[in-house]
């Protein structure tokens, strides 16, 4: 015991001696950030596609405009609340949410729209590629009943299983199953993680799986899921949630910013407003983050270096 204490003292002395040659804190201070951009709060929703948006915008804002970007990992609903408290300034990928737009933009007037991101969101029912290859007609919803037995699991009570996702996503699936007279039961997987794991397992072990999913999603880079064609979407066919019998509408994903931020005159607001790219762009960055395990900053830098002209249009430089 005594010995150990002395050992401790010795170590401390050794450390002290070793330390005297070290580099001092603050000797290589990074160039002062600043100009007129200031700080803004960016919410980061829990999917990798969003993270790609966030990575690129904050990389450009920090590097080219000298802003300080504070990223906050929040669920969508919580992020909307942030507009009214000042905790959130920017949302870079909003999926619809007409009710929240009404509350925070129209009624409370704490947020404003900042245009499309250029990315198209698709929601629907998907099967793993091996199934599409083996049962080519499965992609038509009319044949789903024929294959219902394939999708039976311990959870689906004798019917086929339709696996749903994260509780954050609005779905019409229960109504769809009912209104299209499908012999299926909606089973809640409860999280995106569970959905992806289920698809990964289904493709690898050739297990049948029918599940709610969406694009853009980094997972498409790993497994190219195949979409089932539900009755085509027509404007207004989903007006009554109980009577829905058509596919999900395509989403034009857009950006929302806080009123305060929009009025601040910050150059970062113009950047956010001008930010626009494509599904392919987003997937490329998402893949670097999710599959190649790069940090968001590294991924953004790599993409920006290859797409400087796009970035220049966002910055208003030509």
């Amino acid at each position: 015991m005594k010995k150990l204490r002395y050992a401790g003292v010795l170590t401390a002395v050794a450390l002290a001696l070793a330390g005297c040659g070290g580099q001092k804190v603050g000797e290589d201070k990074p160039a002062a950030a600043g100009k007129d951009c200031g700080t803004f709060n960016l919410t980061v929703s829990p999917w990798v596609g969003y993270e790609a948006n966030a990575a690129v915008v904050s990389y450009v804002a920090t590097k080219d405009l000298g802003c300080k970007v504070v990223k906050k990992d929040l669920k969508e609903e919580i992020a909307w609340q942030g507009f009214s408290t000042g905790e959130v300034d920017v949302n870079l990928e909003n999926w619809g949410h007409e009710d929240l737009k009404k509350k925070y933009i129209t009624d409370d007037k704490v947020a404003v729209e900042a245009g499309s991101t250029g990315v198209k969101g698709i929601i629907g029912w998907y099967v793993p590629p091996w199934m599409a290859a083996k049962y080519p007609d499965i992609t038509d919803w009319k044949n789903l009943n024929k294959y219902a037995a394939l999708f039976k699991t311990s959870e689906s009570g004798g019917k086929g299983q339709l696996l749903d996702g994260d509780p954050s996503y609005v779905t019409n699936d229960e109504a769809l199953v009912k209104n299209l007279s499908l012999n299926y039961k909606v089973v809640q997987s409860g999280s995106e993680t569970a959905l992806i794991q289920a698809f990964r397992d289904a493709e690898k072990n050739k297990k049948p799986l029918l599940a709610y999913f969406y694009e853009p999603q980094w997972f498409f880079n790993e497994v190219k899921l195949v979409k089932i064609n539900l009755p085509a979407y027509k404007a207004g066919c989903d007006a009554d949630p109980a009577k829905v019998a058509c596919d999900y509408p395509p989403y034009d994903l857009d950006k929302i910013v806080s009123k305060k931020f929009a009025d601040s005159g910050s150059p970062a607001y113009d950047l956010v407003k001008n930010f626009k790219w494509t599904n392919e762009d987003q997937n490329a960055v998402a893949r670097m983050i999710a599959v190649d395990k790069m940090t968001p900053d590294q991924a953004a830098q790599k993409w920006v270096d290859q797409n400087q002209s796009k970035v220049n249009t966002w910055l208003g430089k030509n």
Partner: protein, 650 residues
């Protein structure tokens, strides 16, 4: 030997009760086949009741913009940020925190030594060093800042409340009831509403953690004050102490070690909550875990989870050592050493403020990525080897046990279930069991999520049975064998503190998305605490009693079944009870891996504004299930105990 007579007594009585129970169950099944499908109170996933909509509409009635809440939020935020500035975030116009890693380790180890002993000081230094080597220094310090803030604030609230409950019988009764509710209410339920009061960010996260972590400190402080020998208090009063003097000079010092146990549990609870609070932007390791889950990166999630486990073990051992420290104050030699140590700490802090190598944890050796790779490989291997087999187990259990049970509960009319459960509660626990059961079931109907509650109840019952079986087996084993105990404890600690999110992915791979997966996760989470309580109970059986049993030639099995288990009955009741609460607290996490029902409702209420009211109702339903099961088991245990006491007196 008296206790043996007692257990014989129960055995004589048991058949009669079990016959009644059996008859009830058979009648239920028979009626189920007749009445199946009537009045089952089904409510679809996106459907809501009037109550739910009312709750949703009134969610904004209190909260934001309120000066009072704003003041609290700002104060708490500043406190957390101050701690972060000190140890984790670049601050005070410097590119590094005020105190670098060397300083933090030195201060922590010094405190561990001063309050505990030199062994835990070494453990502290090693633990924090390991976390740094994992490449998670800053995240760990963020988690630590938040934990410290939440624990300090918890104690600020909890200890006075605990003292009050310790001194006043009425306060004690109210406190026990409220604390039971607080501990069963799923954290998800108040996570979202809290953001209404305190916005998102560190303040809301700290306050959520506070709510979750304060109960054990209140409970144990009250318990400690109540168990101070009355003679010491009388002695103080007989010498003319005022109430204040009695409190500060007698009650508080004498309850110190039990209060420290309370602080220990508060710290453990806070650590587990800080990870969940990542959902409302709490900084730290929780973020790393959640991020990793998005890309199903088990390795990275495990690495961060491991850091949490290491921090938990360090804090646990240090506080335990502090609690065990004898009354004796420092002798001269120790005081000299402490002073010398303080100087060394100051030197270390100065280094950590001056030199880069002592301020930023060196990233040259990164154990973390290696751990992540190993964890992923192990998971893959397990998945490949056991994959098919585990699906078989799942299907067998689901079809053989879970589905029939769930069918019975969800398929019977609600009034039939109510009548049967209340009757069972009466047979097992008398009025003390039946009345709460009736009230809870009535309220469950009112919540509008009856059917989801029955689904959750079925899974909960099954999970609890497994937890108790495994916990008893492991607990008896560890309780009878010191070596097994020392070997098994760290594993149990890890099971208890590893954030459940970490093992969700492997479990999903092994069992798919299903109720069984949720049950498995709940079992992993609840078995450690059950095992620990059983082991402690078995060990507390007086040696003389066991020797007496051995001296009449009992076999090991007879000693266990006729002496150790009956004598440790109180501990086992507690173990069952805690196992149940732990299983229930995992219901929401279960909802994330396919359990659906109440867990999913709560998670959906957190995520979708139009389902807020339903989520709240589902959260209440979980509490109601908890209260109901708790009361029935307690009442049943009390009954058995009464029989035994009667036997004893004869």
């Amino acid at each position: 030997m008296a206790s043996i007579t007692g257990s014989v007594e129960i055995e004589v009585r048991r058949p009669r009760r079990s016959v009644v129970v059996g008859v009830l169950l058979v009648a239920w099944v028979a009626l189920y086949f007749v009445l199946r499908g009537i009045d089952t109170l089904v409510l679809g996933g996106q459907e809501t009741t009037a109550l739910h909509r009312w709750l949703t509409e009134h969610r904004d009635d209190v909260g934001q913009g309120n000066v009072f809440f704003d003041a609290i939020r700002i104060a708490v935020d500043h406190f957390v940020v101050l701690l972060q500035d000190l140890i984790s975030q670049p601050s005070f116009d410097r590119p590094v925190p005020a105190i670098g890693w060397l300083g933090v380790i030195a201060i922590s180890a010094y405190c561990a030594w001063a309050f505990g002993n030199w062994k835990v000081a070494v453990l502290t230094a090693a633990g924090l060093g390991f976390v740094g080597l994992q490449g998670l220094w800053q995240e760990s310090m963020d988690t630590l800042s938040l934990t410290i803030a939440a624990v300090l604030l918890s104690l600020l609230v909890a200890i006075p409340l605990g003292i009050w409950a310790g001194l006043s019988d009425r306060a004690f009764k109210v406190a026990t009831l409220v604390l039971d509710l607080m501990q069963t209410l799923p954290t998800f339920v108040y996570l979202a509403p809290l953001t209404l009061f305190f916005a998102i960010g560190p303040a809301a996260a700290t306050i959520a953690t506070l709510i979750y972590a304060a109960p054990p400190a209140v409970r144990l402080t009250a318990h400690a004050i109540r168990s101070v020998p009355p003679e010491s208090v009388e002695a103080a009063r007989s010498l003319g102490s005022t109430r204040g003097q009695t409190l500060t000079k007698v009650l508080l010092p004498m309850s110190r070690s039990t209060v420290v146990v309370g602080i220990n549990q508060t710290i453990m609870a806070a650590l587990s909550m800080v990870t969940v609070a990542a959902l409302i932007d709490a900084p730290g390791l929780g973020q790393t875990v959640l991020k990793a889950l998005q890309t199903l990166d088990v390795g990275v999630a495990f690495n961060a989870g491991l850091a949490i486990v290491v921090i938990a073990i360090v804090l646990d051992r240090v506080t335990t050592a502090a609690g065990d420290r004898p009354w004796r104050t420092a002798n001269r030699r120790r005081r000299l050493l402490l002073a010398a140590g303080a100087v060394a700490v100051l030197v270390a802090v100065w280094f950590s403020r001056t030199y880069v190598w002592a301020a930023e944890f060196p990233s040259t050796v990164n154990v973390g990525s290696r751990i992540a790779v190993i964890a992923s490989d192990v998971t893959d291997w397990v998945q490949n080897v056991f994959g098919g087999f585990t699906y078989g187990v799942r299907d067998a259990v689901t079809n053989g046990l879970l589905n029939p049970l769930e069918g019975l509960l969800t398929g019977s009319p609600w009034w039939l279930v109510t009548v049967v459960v209340v009757a069972l509660a009466f047979v097992l626990g008398g009025w003390r069991g039946a009345v709460p059961a009736a009230v809870c079931l009535g309220l469950l109907v009112a919540t509008g999520v009856w059917q989801d509650s029955m689904v959750t109840l079925a899974s909960t019952l099954l999970a609890t049975v497994v937890v108790v079986a495994v916990g008893l087996a492991l607990g008896v084993w560890a309780g009878r064998n010191r070596r097994v105990d020392t070997w098994i404890r760290p594993v149990l600690d890890a099971g208890q503190t590893m954030p459940p999110f970490v093992y969700l992915v492997p479990f999903l791979a092994l069992f798919g998305t299903s109720r069984f997966t949720a049950i498995a996760a709940a079992v992993v989470f609840a078995v450690p605490v059950t095992t620990k309580i059983v082991a402690d109970g078995i060990r507390a059986v007086p040696v003389a009693t066991v020797e007496a049993a051995n001296s009449v030639g009992s076999s090991s099995w007879q000693v266990i079944s006729k002496v150790q288990l009956p004598v440790a009955r109180r501990a086992i009741t507690l173990a069952v009870n805690q196992g149940l609460i732990y299983v229930l607290s995992m219901v929401v996490v279960g909802g994330l891996v396919g359990a659906g029902a109440l867990g999913y409702d709560v998670a959906a209420g957190f995520a979708q504004s139009e389902l807020y009211g339903k989520g709240l109702a589902a959260g209440l339903a979980i509490v109601l299930l908890g209260v109901m099961l708790d009361r029935i088991t307690q009442a049943a245990a009390r009954r058995t105990e009464n029989f035994t006491t009667r036997g004893d007196k004869r």
